[in-house]
Symmetry: C2
Subunit: 200 residues, 2 copies
């Protein structure tokens, strides 16, 4: 049990960082504030994360891990049953739990950093590559999509999903929100249907 306390503290600090960023914004969250929130001096924060840049890049790893966790249930389903319904998966992409587990504000703040930080850019790219490959696997195991360009299809689906969340984040009214979700979902279904038709 050498690095156990260390690992726990690190996790605690990153989660505190995430919590405060969610509450007050990434740019308004300082090392001192994280320390205060956890009841420890700022110097202890810096003992585990020597610079703020390192702290931020760890926050991003944490966020991208969280992002991936949302897909975990379906990944397991795919591994055990060796099959997953694309439509069910698409539904889960647009499900509400999403927003409960995940804060889009922090996510977009971190995303904005890719434009001035190549390491962060790479990490974001890696995550999305993985997600796309995963959806491709689901599509590959679907009979109705045999001999289709599932790579392209996966890309097309995710473009709609990301664009959808971009737009949905601006909507306050619940009815409008729900209606738009249905439209976007239908748009993805259309993509799946179109490919099926090509197959026939």
């Amino acid at each position: 049990m050498k690095g156990k306390i260390s690992a726990e503290r690190k996790k605690e600090i990153i989660e505190g960082f995430y919590y405060l960023s969610k509450e007050n914004g990434l740019e308004n969250t300082s090392i001192a504030k994280i320390g205060k929130h956890l009841g420890i001096p700022p110097s202890l924060v810096m003992h585990y994360f020597p610079t703020k840049d390192i702290l931020i890049s760890n926050l991003i790893s944490y966020i991208l891990d969280q992002y991936l966790k949302i897909y975990e249930p379906v990944i397991k389903e795919l591994e055990t049953k060796n099959h997953a319904d694309p439509k069910t998966f698409v539904d889960s992409l647009f499900s509400r739990e999403w927003n409960l587990l995940f804060d889009d504000g922090v996510f977009y703040s971190c995303y904005a950093l890719i434009f001035r930080n190549d390491v962060i850019k790479k990490e974001y790219r890696k995550l999305h590559d993985r997600l796309r490959e995963f959806l491709k696997e689901i599509l590959d195991r679907d009979e109705s999509l045999k001999n289709q360009d599932t790579q392209l299809l996966a890309e097309q689906i995710f473009v709609v999903v990301e664009g959808a969340y971009y737009y949905l984040s601006m909507i306050d009214n619940e009815d409008t929100y729900n209606k738009k979700v249905e439209n976007f979902k239908e748009q993805v279904y259309d993509l799946l249907r179109k490919k099926e038709e090509q197959h026939l």
Copy 2:
């Protein structure tokens, strides 16, 4: 000529703010730095923009105006010729000039603010509502799309465009970038075609 100097200084300050945000990031651009960049004391900056919040919200107005300006040529074409080719418009959405005129880093940094500032959220929403309505007009005047739900179609197209830029921003390799642009463009063309078919 009452508020002329005032208007010019304000413009100068906002453009300096934008320039520095592009260079070093929105969160790293202070009032002092803007002043230094323009050769004026920070107090003069605050004379025209009493608080930093006001300064930021003016930067956002500026950015959204810039965003809109990209569409100006097509808007004029529509007004004079009373018609515009949807495909040409889609092409312009994916054109390179875009990225030259506009910095996505600053745009996304500002976008991230909508999650904690309702006024900014409203401004962003207003911009996108306007753009969608404008595309709808173009589609409405296209014969091949008669009796179609052009509002929905416009929404579907913009979702692809926004999602596309989200993904494209992560790509460094030029060939990969171009290939993906072509795919996304094709995806939008498909949307237009699909609706045409429904019409026949």
